[in-house]
Amino acid sequence: MRPTARRVGVVPICLSALLAAGAAFAQAKPVKVGLSSAFSGHVGFIGADARRGIELAIEELKTANTAVAYELSIADDECTPAGGATAFRRLMDVQQVDVIIGSGCSGATLGGMPTLMDGKLSAVTYGSTNPKITEGAGVGGNPYMWRMNLNDTIIGETFAAFIAKDGVKSAHILAVNNDFGRGAAGVYQALLPKNDVKVNGADFFSQGASDLRALISKIAARSPDAILLFGEPPDCALMARQKREMNLKAKIFSRGGCYTDESLKLMGDPRLGDGLTEAAYWARTPDQPMVEAYRKRHGDYPPYNAALAYYAMMTVDQAVRKAGPSRDGITKGLAQVDWKSAIGPIKFDANHQARPDLFMVRIENGEQKVIETISNAR
């Protein structure tokens, strides 16, 4: 019975996709894509970066997918739950978008999620790391929320094994006190002991903290083999400089952007980062044409927010190709996406979680070097 049912189900979907694609082509009405991210306040760069990535993708799609044109609208969600609810609502009802990319922040994504149900509108996040998003999406209850980026649990399993393999016997966790840092700390406190790495302790610092030296002094006194740093590029840069100042020997493993160009630039001397290893859900690998394209447009390598948003846009395009450009079509299309992107396969599971590749990046001579690309596909 089951194969039949499936076959029966596929036909109308394909039909509607064809119809939808045809209709869109006939009207030449652009598909409206909304970006919800922070555009103001202290984390406003997240939105600005993502916008550039999406704009680049839309530009490229102009030639690649002639069936539809894309038009971008943005809304500022201020990285807060309330802001997320308002921004999603604004994109959905005022801008009347067909799909939302975002938010880049977990809090805003969580706040916006329930809104999606009202408009039967799908949203694809490219950077939120909170595991609760996956728990609540797909079979978790919300059929409209999708996550393209790896979450911390998936990354953690791979990274913990890698750290153990690197000869680390004891580690201390130093994390930013937000959803990302707290979530990551929880994951590694559970996973590292399973890989026979002892966790000496975990300390948290406030977002935007200017000085980590007091914390590093404390950690250094316990002389762990490694420090696991979960923070943003400025935090990494501080860590690198203060590590030099204090002549600290521990290896550094990081998540959150310590390997990025921005982080290296903030160190002053990029070689301060030498030896640092980061498990990244995006890295500059040679087989990604978007890197050079971005550099041509903006003069700089893309930040990971820009790159991930770029791939999120490409994923949306895949969904449109599958089932048409309407809200309904994109939702159905996302479920079918099975796309081999330059950062690995993108295919959403029952909880709407995709599993692209994980990149192990190490800083050598002040340069980032991808030492391993690990597939997470099951």
């Binding site: 739950p81 609810a85 969580l110 999620m113 609760k132 609540g136 006190n177 937000n178 959803d179």
Partner: protein, 608 residues
């Protein structure tokens, strides 16, 4: 009834307009702006109860909002007891939390109070951020279901945006209603009294802490209920909900609206709820423009929107209500001239006003000593005042007269000694307790409630003197007419020549007139013993004469009076007995003329 309707008409019109919004809004997005605006309305109106009505700049308001949100989130995601239980737990818990924060915080001076509450708010945020097992920390509490509202006939779950909108509109209406009820009743007078002058309030029997806590607590409970709604509306509660950044918004709304002005705050809440959304067209400059607009507003219209309302009213000829009440409290001290003590004015009738003086008033002060900063202000002072006596304390500056009054009236703790009133040891009693026991004082630097009218000043004074239980029962009553009391108030104001001033803000009265209001407040409920601190200082002779006549008249009816006064002519004229202080000790005591004739008194006091 008609008057109530007229006063409520603008509010009802606003409510009606708000109720229409879902049916005219071009898209649900505007409803979501409406919902966010209504949340701000709830918080701002409640906040103004604290900052505008009792004059305490609190940074802790978001704590209670966040508390309500977390309560709702925890209940809804664990055992799901429904909206009413959540609201009740949030309101009662918010109230209790506010009392726990308020009791220490209100011990601080008002500047420190602001920073102290900022400290509490920061700690609350740290708790929300780091108490992972309960709040989930930065990982938030997610998956909060829609509110389950049990109604008598059905279970209602607001799902659509319109239903959510009406729910928060109902909560906002409730908030405005509760706040209006509070300020429209006699407790509203007590709020103003405590804001204008907490020391005076305490010395009239009103406990500033209780009054402030009731405003603080009511605001906390109301904010917590708004928090319950927000938790269900957003479906997620994060430490941001407790963040002090909300306070910035609330402060801005309260001040741009005009503190203590409900309509101003409502208008500002609506403007600041909507404006940042409208400014979204300006994208990245949005917040900078928002700040710039705010700065320009504050610099050009410092009295806020309330001032604009007043100007419009004046232009329309509707200026019947009290204008500029808030400006008097904070603005430059510009006191309009008192009418010249016209030479044609008939002398004030000298009769004892209303009320029977209480019997008793015998005061014994033994071994009183007070030192501060190494200076001994009062040194082993003994004296006695018999019931019905009029005793004057005189002495050169710095001899300890005012300090003695401060010690007796409970304003200033003392190092040693006992004070006994009618056989009861009253040492260490609070000013409020003393006032309720019938020991009342006036102040040399005139103290009145400047934003209240003379009539209201006297109502507050009368309430404060009542037993606590009765006092609080009275607070629940309307502030309009006060049958029984009004006749007495009219009588005494008439006798003091203040009838025409009865319903003007006392801040508009001249210095001398305010001094008379202060006196009237001290005797509106006749005390057992009245301590007068330099009633004649700085007043013109006409008002000085009124004081002299009233002091004598009250004393003849049996009121015990202790008078501190420099005007020796008057002192010698009216007193039964003089007590002369010099450098904190008693140097002479007895019949006025005998005492004044003593050489060492003349030496110490008159320098001859």
């Amino acid at each position: 009834m008609a008057a109530t309707l007229r006063n409520d008409a603008p509010l009802l019109a606003l409510l009606a307009a708000a109720a229409i919004l879902p049916f005219v809004a071009p898209s649900p997005y505007y409803l979501s702006i409406g919902i966010n605006t209504l949340i701000i309305v709830c918080l701002a109106v409640a906040f103004d109860l604290v900052v505008g009505r009792v004059g305490a700049l609190s940074f802790a308001q978001p704590v209670f909002f966040g508390f309500g949100a977390y309560v709702a989130a925890l209940i809804a995601t664990t055992f799901g007891a429904g909206f009413w239980v959540e609201a009740l737990v949030a309101a009662v818990g918010g109230f209790a939390l506010s009392v726990a924060i308020g009791i220490p915080a209100f011990r601080l001076s008002l500047h420190s109070f602001a920073i102290g509450t900022l400290g509490f708010a920061t700690i609350a945020q740290l708790v929300a951020q780091n108490w992972m097992s309960v709040t989930g920390g930065p990982l938030c509490i997610t998956g909060i279901p829609r509110a389950q509202i049990g109604l008598p006939f059905a279970q209602f779950t607001p799902r659509t945006l319109t239903e959510q909108y009406f729910l928060i509109l109902a909560i906002a209406a409730l908030t405005v209603f509760v706040v209006r009820q509070l300020i429209g009743r006699r407790i509203g007078l007590a709020f103003s009294a405590v804001r204008d002058d907490p020391t005076l309030a305490a010395s009239q029997g009103i406990r500033p802490l209780s009054i402030r806590l009731s405003a603080f607590g009511a605001a906390a409970a109301l904010s917590a209920i708004a928090g319950v709604f927000t938790a269900h509306f957003q479906g997620v509660v994060c430490p941001d909900s407790v963040a002090t950044s909300y306070t910035v918004m609330l402060l801005i709304v309260a001040f741009v609206g005009g503190r203590g002005s409900l309509r101003g705050v409502l208008a500002a809440a609506i403007i600041f709820g909507v404006a940042p959304q409208l400014l979204r067209v300006a994208d990245e400059w949005r917040l900078a423009i928002f700040g710039a607009l705010l700065l320009v507003t504050v610099l050009t219209v410092p009295d806020g929107i309330e001032r604009i309302f007043q100007l419009i009213e004046r232009a329309l000829g509707l200026g019947g209500r009290n204008l500029v009440p808030a400006a008097i409290a904070t603005g430059p001290a510009a006191i309009p001239a008192e009418p010249a003590p016209a030479t044609t004015q008939a002398p004030v009738p000298v009769e004892v006003p209303v009320g029977e003086a209480l019997p008793g008033g015998a005061l014994q002060v033994t071994g009183l000593r007070k030192t501060y900063g190494g200076v001994t202000a009062v040194n082993d002072l003994d004296f006695e005042v018999k019931a019905g006596e009029l005793v004057s304390l005189i002495g050169p500056n710095g001899s300890g007269k005012s300090t003695t009054l401060d010690c007796i009236s409970g304003l200033s703790p003392f190092d040693a000694g006992t004070i006994v009133l009618d056989g009861q040891n009253i040492s260490g009693w609070s000013p409020a307790r003393l006032a309720k026991a019938g020991l009342v004082r006036t102040f040399q630097a005139t103290r009145v409630y400047t934003t209240l009218t003379p009539r209201e000043n006297l109502v507050v004074a009368a309430l404060g003197r009542a037993p606590t239980l009765y006092e609080w029962r009275q607070y629940a009553r309307s502030r309009g007419a006060t049958p029984g009391l009004d006749a007495r108030i009219d009588d005494i104001l008439g006798r003091l020549g203040l009838a025409a001033m009865r319903d003007r803000p006392t801040g508009e009265l001249s210095y001398g007139q305010r001094k008379l209001v202060q006196f009237a407040a001290s005797v509106i409920v006749p005390p057992r013993i009245l301590l007068l601190d330099e009633p004649l200082a700085g007043v013109n002779p006409t008002i000085g004469n009124i004081f002299k006549q009233q002091i004598v008249a009250f004393n003849r009816r049996g009121l015990t009076i202790v008078l501190v006064e420099h005007n020796l002519e008057v002192v010698v004229d009216v007193s039964h007995r003089l007590i002369v202080l010099d450098r904190g000790t008693k140097i002479a005591e007895g019949d006025p003329r005998t005492v004044m004739a003593q050489a060492h008194v003349q030496e110490a006091y008159l320098g001859r």
